[in-house]
């Protein structure tokens, strides 16, 4: 296959558990092609740096394969990999001058002095620091150190250059300049760049391919345009750029209803599919009151330099809009959306599914079902509809005995049926909020229990990350299903 040939680095089902028992990466697979500029983008703690360190050889995968040109390099020490790194804090050797720092790798390889001189001169030209050979590291500014760190890495002509949040220590203006320079350098060198950042703008500006990560998992891989315009899930939509997220459902062929109106859209899903609609603030059109499909009132309008951020309150939601015109607070306006400005994400039906096992049965209360984090007492007919008890034995409607012992049961609930409480005992399970997204008129929270199960809850109140909360769902809202053996 043509594709296979171009693959330079491949991670296959990589898992990483640190010595203290923390699992950073559960099961991750990723392909990186020759000559690509790939950015691993995600919030801090999402495992992006760990992946970079595994490729660099500073961490070993706990399991899984790490292939370079088709060969497993998991156990190869960093010094034997054709890969060089630009470290987050540059890690330039303070006891060596600029020349010796850059020539460090060449000297170890035994390159002769003349070639060393030439190569050092060439890379210094490339990073625009000609004549800096004799300078001591401590006399360089942050930006200059950054360039020397890049020079020190590329002088070795690696197949892959790893950049670990390399621009984060620079000020905003310098960072912008370096973004452009790095991109040009990538074109000139033609080697693979793998860049790690938490800055979405940086990722969108520089990369050929962006890998959006959260929580040790890849959320989406795509070109910058793809991940901005076609986010695959709510996390990506919320993390990349600003977005209005509405809850709604499909009402016809390419017809979607949300925010109190029906819109045409370009995505085609079956009628009645529950969806989340993502609309970028710059795609919302503001029209005169009475026109447009949604009516609202301006809540605020702030000047941001190139555009105004206008917040409009409609009777169903609050919408953020980036537009070029200024409005007065209280202005009545109409809002409209073009079909291609609506991006539809079908509701993920796999969330909030938990598996348990029936442990015991009491005639009065029902089954005790043990899940990983909690135990629920469920009336028997919720599990086996129509069942009844006769002679102390649980029977089906037809009178057959039910062998309930050890039966596996799946429980699920909808995020909108759950509520959060700060009383850890109030709900059926408790955990810490680790992520939340503002939807049109509520927040979508992800709560993680101690055993690392996630619970997704829509709640109107504003909670904070790290809040310890319990999840409450009324018994009638749980959906139970017996797993067929």
């Amino acid at each position: 296959m043509e594709n296979q040939k171009d693959t330079l680095i491949e991670l296959k089902h990589v898992k990483k558990v640190f010595e203290d028992g923390v699992t950073v990466i559960e099961d991750l697979s990723l392909e990186i092609k020759k000559g690509e500029f790939v950015t691993l983008l995600g919030p801090s703690g999402c495992g992006k740096t760990t992946i970079l360190r595994m490729i660099g050889g500073f961490e070993k995968p706990t399991s899984g394969e790490l292939l370079l040109n088709g060969k497993d390099i998991s156990n190869l020490p960093p010094n034997e990999r054709p890969i060089n790194t630009v470290f987050q804090k540059y890690a330039l050797f303070p006891h060596l001058n600029v020349y010796d720092n850059i020539a460090f790798g060449l000297k170890i390889k035994g390159v002769d002095k003349k070639t060393q001189d030439e190569k050092v001169k060439k890379v210094l030209e490339m990073v625009d620091l000609e004549g800096f050979e004799k300078r001591s590291i401590s006399t360089l500014s942050g930006g200059q150190q950054q360039r020397i760190a890049i020079a020190r890495a590329i002088v070795n002509e690696p197949e892959v250059l790893l950049l670990d949040e390399s621009l984060s220590a620079l000020d905003a203006k310098m960072r912008k300049e370096m973004q452009i320079e790095l991109k040009e350098m990538h074109k000139k060198l033609g080697i693979t760049f793998i860049f790690v950042t938490h800055d979405q703008e940086e990722a969108l500006t520089m990369s050929d391919k962006v890998v959006v990560m959260s929580d040790g998992d890849i959320q989406q891989i795509g070109t910058p345009e793809d991940i901005y315009n076609e986010p695959k899930n709510l996390f990506v939509a919320d993390f990349i750029g600003e977005s209005n997220i509405f809850n709604g459902k499909m009402v016809g062929k390419k017809q979607v209803e949300f925010g109190g109106a029906v819109f045409e859209c370009v995505d085609d899903y079956a009628v009645d599919t529950v969806i989340d609609a993502v609309v970028r603030p710059e795609d919302v059109e503001i029209t005169e009151a009475g026109k447009g499909r949604i009516q609202g009132e301006v809540l605020s309008c702030d000047f941001k330099g190139i555009f105004y951020v206008t917040n409009v309150k409609t009777d169903k939601a609050e919408v953020e809009i980036h537009n070029l015109k200024s409005y007065q607070i209280g202005d009545k306006v109409g809002l409209d959306l073009a079909p291609d400005s609506i991006h539809i994400i079908p509701y993920d039906t796999s969330i909030n599914h938990y598996e348990g096992e029936i442990k015991s049965y009491e005639a009065e209360t029902g089954f005790e079902i043990a899940f990983e984090d909690f135990t629920l007492t469920v009336p028997a007919d919720r599990i086996f509809p129509g069942c009844k008890e006769a002679n102390g034995v649980l029977q089906t409607e037809g009178g057959e005995e039910i062998a309930w012992e050890g039966t596996s049961v799946t429980m699920s609930f909808r995020p909108e049926d759950a509520t959060l409480s700060d009383d850890a005992e109030a709900g059926f399970v408790s955990g810490n909020i680790f992520n939340f997204i503002f939807m049109d008129d509520y927040y979508r929270y992800r709560v993680r229990s101690e055993s690392e199960e996630d619970y997704i809850v829509n709640d109107a109140y504003l909670w904070n990350n790290e809040d310890h909360v319990s999840v409450n769902v009324p018994m009638e809202k749980f959906v139970f299903e017996v797993k067929k053996a």
């Binding site: 660099g56 060089n84 804090k89 050797f93 006891h95 170890i108 401590s138 500014s141 070795n156």
Partner: protein, 266 residues
């Protein structure tokens, strides 16, 4: 008149102490070193020091003992400090205590105990005077070498090691080209803390051998014989040696400061 308190006034007690117990005695020592018994200015004492085989021999012997002690301390302390610094903060500190703990036991007690152990092993200490002196000295000064090395090595940023590996350095190269040069400030301060005291430490020789064949005890023996002039000369010579060594080691600590500036930039 209103009395105003200045922070500088806090230094008065120490200034008095400095004047009475450091500067005045030093002037007295200098006076005696450059005068003869009649009270005339003379360099005879210095000439005599370098002409006498006994005094020059003692000086050389002291230097040799100090050099060997320092070298052995360094050889033992470096790997120890390196391993301790790599074990992770908590257990490292606990282990370090094991090496530093002997310092809390009375010095004479330690040397007496060591002397008994050596006697038990060798039968008679007279057979290996040099080796025994070195053993006692090393035992005494080792913690002073481990401490500064441990401090420097724990502060050494792991990213330097990773950067070196990344650039293709094998473990041996990483050590020789990165870890060792970056731990020079620790080595220098360890060496100063061991070399200078071990050159003048006469307690060990005195207790183990009743010997005065070391600079410190030489001074003591002149002074106890009321020969202020010759005793002062030796003091001055030692002082000069100390000044030279301190000047050299200061140059390294200045480099260390420059490194820290890089740290601030990062």
């Amino acid at each position: 008149m209103k009395y105003t308190f200045h922070r500088k006034q806090l230094a008065i007690p120490y200034a008095i102490f400095l004047l009475l117990f450091v500067i005045l005695p030093l002037l007295v020592v200098i006076f005696y070193a450059f005068t003869n018994e009649e009270g005339h200015v003379s360099f005879h004492n210095f000439v005599a020091f370098f002409q006498s085989g006994k005094t020059v021999g003692t000086l050389l012997y002291s230097i040799v003992i100090a050099l060997v002690t320092t070298a052995i301390c360094l050889l033992i302390a470096y790997p120890t400090a390196y391993i301790l610094s790599k074990t992770g903060m908590k257990s490292g500190d606990a282990l370090l205590l094991l090496f530093v703990l002997p310092m809390w036991i009375n010095f004479t007690l330690r040397i007496t105990a060591l002397k008994e152990i050596l006697t038990l092993l060798e039968g008679n200490l007279a057979f290996h005077p040099f080796a025994n002196t070195i053993i006692c000295m090393v035992y005494d000064f080792l913690p002073f070498m481990i401490m500064p090395l441990y401090n420097t090595l724990t502060k050494l940023d792991d990213s330097y090691v990773e950067a070196a590996q990344d650039l293709g350095a094998k473990k041996s190269h990483v050590f020789l080209k990165v870890i060792l040069p970056l731990s020079v400030p620790g080595i220098v301060s360890g060496v100063t803390m061991v070399f200078l005291p071990s050159m003048t430490n006469y307690v060990v020789l005195d207790m183990v051998y009743n010997s005065t064949f070391i600079m410190g005890s030489l001074i003591g023996s002149y002074f106890s014989a009321y020969d202020w002039h010759n005793g002062s000369v030796i003091s001055i010579i030692l002082l000069l040696i100390i000044c030279v060594i301190t000047a050299i080691s200061n140059r390294y600590t200045e480099n260390d400061k420059a490194d820290r500036r890089v740290g601030a930039l990062k």
